[in-house]
């Protein structure tokens, strides 16, 4: 997601044009006044006007549950319909695809897999890529989770391959046709915002459990970035180049295959890279419905052996980072714009490819003859690693430490002075006041269209009977967003100003974005033993890296001559930062806020698993209690909330520049 964002910011024109209004008409004052009126109403009529039952579509949950029953019935009928059989066939196909990859990896033996991975990375990505690959395989082996890692890898091969097969052609289409792009965007938004927990149930009923169902769940989340980045790449090709090609008499097809696609090459490879990372973040969810592998170790370990769950989580992180670095290196090294292939070099590269293939084949043959197994069954560092992780957990669990004094104090204060009053305010203010108030704030800060969207979305939330839960969730999301933006902004600016800090921050960001949230929730619960806070902090930890990256990029990309000009006028470093760099990076910063909110919302369900009340809790409960209606309605409310917040934050900058969309 962050990558999509980067490219759009550079396209936008940074501007210092901020119109000046008298203070009493400024956005902040007006919003403050609206909040003031809402506060008066809140204290006057606390909790007296919840969303009325007469405005709620009461029978909706029943209809949804009937739908589930119907699904179960038709799925398990004596003679299922063609559609059901088609779903079954597709699931079977995916099952066997994953199993085929799995047995291929097993057949290659662990030595063969390692050699193949390292040498192929070496040939196409260079020495550093090969080192990353070797480190990853060593981690799989030493953690004693080789088999699980291979299962996850097989799942990824199938899911990423199919996602790209679907995503790249659709992305090309979206890049060529504005109408298609506009039609597909809301669908992609929905695919990314609706929590996977919500569609697990229908997927299981339609596709049963197993690797096939896991692949489908992963694809739903991993296809959107493939489409979005590919489309961006196609759009980024300079129009005059394409025109020139057409003028020279090339057909539209030729202009696509010979001009657009090659020129969008870097973005296409980036979409592969992002699709892999998005797919990997679904590993734990996939483990829930029979996806096996590392995700399974995480979920089942949480109850009986948290240290093991943490170890598996760390292995997932290493896998993600290795795949990220290797694909990135391949994209850079094979970039035709960067290297000039002479005939001699080309021949040498071809020879290197043949040599790689031969060595891999020889090693696999040798390993099979020597009787090497599919699993690495030699000495591992597993027990040692588990003991270390356990000692960290023990430390965290100990309520007598200084660390605990600090963290529990922070947690208690966030609850007492942040979450609880804010939640009460949103939930207990009379509903018409909240509805009108929030819509007016959207109008003031963002403009007419976002305000209309906000009004409609809040209406939907009310009608489906999710008003109170959604307000509860909104309070958590807003508190988490404030923390996310504060931390992300601070770290991003620091990283933009100091290369060293940037280098330190990158791996931290990588780990936080790829470590499954379920894994660090348990230590968080120990450190901040109040409900809601661990969920909020998990959201912050997941979202601030993206904000930091966007801010860092935005501040760093401010044109050098502007900065030099300011310096020439005698501005100090701090002045340059405050008066030049940050204002010029505002687009990137607002985009960071926008992405931060969406990502916090994505983690809301995970918060629900550790007791944050509201929509996430209902989604989780819907799955656990087989209550389909509850889960679906809560997911619709999450989507509505997401759309409203997205449109409003995106509109803010436009409104500042005085463009009414």
């Amino acid at each position: 997601m962050s990558v999509v964002a980067d490219t759009t910011t550079t396209a936008a024109v940074p501007s210092l044009l901020v119109e000046h209004r008298p203070w009493w008409r400024s956005r902040v004052t007006l919003s403050g006044a609206i909040v003031g009126v809402m506060l008066v109403c809140y204290f006057a009529a606390k909790a007296q006007y919840p969303w009325p039952a007469s405005l709620t579509w009461n029978t909706l949950p029943t209809h949804l549950n009937d739908f589930q029953t119907w699904l179960v019935d038709s799925r398990n009928a004596e003679n299922p319909s063609v559609v059901i059989r088609a779903f079954n066939g597709f699931a079977d196909f995916l099952d066997s695809l994953v199993n085929w990859f799995s047995s291929l990896l097993g057949w290659m033996t662990w030595v063969g897999v390692t050699v193949a991975g390292v040498l192929v990375s070496l040939r196409f990505g260079g020495v550093r890529a090969a080192a990353w690959a070797l480190a990853a395989f060593a981690t799989f082996a030493l953690s004693g989770l080789w088999v699980e890692s291979m299962q996850t890898l097989a799942l990824m091969l199938a899911a990423v391959g199919l996602s790209l097969l679907v995503g790249i052609p659709l992305g090309v289409l979206a890049g060529l046709s504005d109408r298609f792009a506009r039609a597909v965007t809301p669908v992609l938004d929905a695919m990314q915002i609706i929590p996977a927990f919500a569609y697990l149930m229908p997927i299981v009923i339609l596709f049963s459990v197993g690797p096939g169902a896991a692949v489908i769940t992963t694809m739903i989340y991993a296809i959107p970035p493939a489409i979005r980045i590919t489309a961006l790449g196609i759009r980024g090709v300079p129009a005059n180049t394409v025109e020139a090609a057409l003028a020279m008499g090339s057909t539209p097809v030729q202009s696509l295959t010979k001009v657009r696609l090659p020129l969008a090459r870097r973005m296409l490879l980036l979409s592969v890279n992002q699709t892999i990372l998005f797919a990997l973040s679904m590993v734990v969810i996939a483990g829930l419905i029979g996806g096996k592998g590392l995700g399974d170790v995480v979920t089942s370990g949480l109850n009986s052996y948290p240290a093991l769950a943490l170890l598996a989580g760390l292995v997932i992180v290493v896998m993600a980072m290795a795949l990220d670095r290797v694909t990135e290196a391949v994209a850079e090294r094979t970039n035709p714009a960067r290297r000039h292939l002479t005939d001699d070099l080309r021949r040498r590269l071809r020879r290197a490819s043949v040599a790689t293939a031969l060595v891999v084949a020889a090693v696999i043959a040798g390993a099979r003859i020597a009787g090497v197994g599919a699993d690495y069954s030699r000495r591992t560092a597993r027990d040692w690693l588990l003991a270390r992780i356990q000692s960290v957990l023990d430390y965290v669990q100990n309520p007598d430490t200084f660390l605990f004094q600090v963290t529990s104090w922070i947690g208690d204060h966030i609850v007492q002075y942040g979450l609880v009053p804010f939640r009460n305010f949103l939930v207990e203010t009379p509903w018409p006041v909240t509805l009108v108030g929030i819509t007016l704030i959207a109008l003031v800060v963002s403009g007419r269209r976002p305000a209309v969207t906000t009004f409609l979305m809040l209406g939907v939330i009310g009608v489906i009977g999710e008003w109170a839960s959604a307000m509860d969730t909104a309070s958590q999301v807003l508190v988490a967003t404030v923390l996310t933006v504060a931390i992300g902004f601070g770290l991003g600016v620091l990283a933009a100003e100091s290369r060293t800090f940037s280098k330190i921050l990158r791996p931290v960001n990588d780990v936080l974005q790829t470590l499954p949230q379920l894994v660090y929730l348990i230590p968080l619960i120990y450190l901040m033993p109040v409900s809601v806070v661990p969920g909020v902090i998990a959201g912050v930890l997941y979202a601030f890296p993206v904000v930091a990256r966007l801010v860092e990029n935005g501040v760093r990309n401010v044109e050098a001559n502007t900065v030099e000009a300011a310096a020439a006028f005698g501005a100090t470093r701090r002045q340059i930062l405050r008066k030049v760099k940050i204002p010029l990076a505002q687009d990137a910063i607002m985009l960071g806020v926008n992405q931060g909110i969406i990502m916090v919302l994505a983690v809301v369900v995970i918060g629900g698993l550790v007791g944050s009340p509201g929509l996430g809790y209902e989604v989780a409960q819907g799955l656990a209690r087989s209550d389909f209606g509850l889960g679906v309605l809560a997911s619709v409310a999450i989507l509505a909330l997401g759309i409203a917040l997205d449109r409003v934050t995106r509109g803010v900058r436009r409104a500042q520049l005085g463009e009414e969309p």
């Binding site: 090497v372 309520p399 109040v530 698993l609």
Partner: protein
């Protein structure tokens, strides 16, 4: 130029990697166990809690060692996903079901004849309100719920405001505590912290600090051997008593004003597997053990982090008579 120089380096590195990996590989040993004789394979579901792991691994050990079965393990979420997997033949046996089979959606699978309820697995579950024993010693009046009246304030927490905090159970479990609190007129705020690991984290931490805490809990549970807990007596049960809050039953919450009943925990099997003629069917039908047995194995696995296979072996070796009865000898 640079390419020419880079090549030997890369070759050397590749060779090095090869040597390292090769050396490890040659010394690696691979012994596949050849199971699968007459019995064929059985797929069992392992639920997320330690007691369920104990069931599965003891059964696995017995079936593999005595009948030569191949036992596969799936780990699926309870309820509908699991039942659909059984209907599709992906899971044959569920050794422990906490009454999910009784839910209306899931009864469909029983009625259509795909899933059979084999009855109790011997373990009887019980849900209740628990406090640490040190607290019970300090306040003996907490033996029954009446003693809590007026004393709710000692259970205060940051999120409960002026009230005391009642720590609710995993939201997916059977419960009615918010309703009970209201009906009993207690000044508690019902707070759920979500899934079981989170709830355990919360109350064990309070326990370690010797702080007052009152929470939803159940037996059998292996943690009950590591922590001293005492139960608070709730109003006696009546015939019309309901244990699981259901909004469809209306707003008269009087029906919840009673202690939780005993939960008979059932084992389930698919009809297809029951008819397969596998010798494992008889063993699973006869299989039954007590809460103490289960806790013993669960504590080895989750409390002492022993390998589940080893824990099962240890219990089986210590209880030959029980295993013999399951085998029908």
């Amino acid at each position: 130029m640079s390419n020419r120089r880079a090549r030997p380096v890369r070759l050397v590195l590749a060779a090095l990697a090869l040597v390292v990996v090769g050396a490890l590989g040659v010394s690696a040993s691979a012994f596949g166990r050849d199971a699968a004789k007459s019995c064929g394979s059985v797929t069992m579901d392992e639920n997320a809690w330690a007691g369920a792991t104990a069931n599965v691994y003891v059964l696995k050990y017995v079936l593999e060692e005595n009948l030569g079965c191949t036992v596969n393990i799936e780990k699926l979420p309870e309820s509908t996903p699991l039942f659909q997997a059984m209907a599709d033949g992906k899971v044959d046996v569920v050794p422990e079901d906490w009454n999910n089979i009784l839910l209306k959606v899931n009864q469909k699978y029983v009625k259509s004849g795909t899933i059979m309820n084999l009855g109790s697995n011997g373990v009887i579950g019980h849900i209740g309100w628990f406090i640490p024993t040190y607290l019970m010693k300090q306040y003996p009046q907490f033996k029954t719920w009446r003693g809590l009246k007026g004393k709710e304030g000692i259970f205060k927490s940051p999120e409960s405001g002026s009230q005391g905090m009642f720590l609710g159970g995993d939201p997916s479990y059977v419960q009615k505590d918010a309703q009970l609190i209201k009906e009993l007129g207690l000044d508690f705020k019902f707070v759920s912290v979500g899934a079981e690991p989170a709830q355990v984290a919360r109350w064990t931490q309070a326990y370690k600090q010797k702080k007052p805490i009152i929470f939803y809990w159940y037996t059998p549970q292996y943690l009950n051997t590591a922590y001293q807990l005492s139960e608070i007596k709730l109003p006696a049960r009546s015939k019309t008593c309901v244990d699981s809050y259901n909004p469809k039953l209306g707003s008269n919450w009087g029906i919840y004003k009673c202690a939780y009943g005993l939960t008979i925990i059932d084992k389930l099997m698919t009809s297809k597997f029951a008819k397969s003629g596998s010798p494992a069917v008889g063993v699973i039908k006869r299989w039954k053990w007590s809460a103490n047995d289960q806790n013993y194995v669960a504590n080895l696995i989750a409390g002492k982090h022993m390998d589940p296979e080893k824990a099962a072996e240890q219990w089986v070796d210590a209880n030959p008579a029980k295993v013999k009865a399951w085998l029908g000898k």
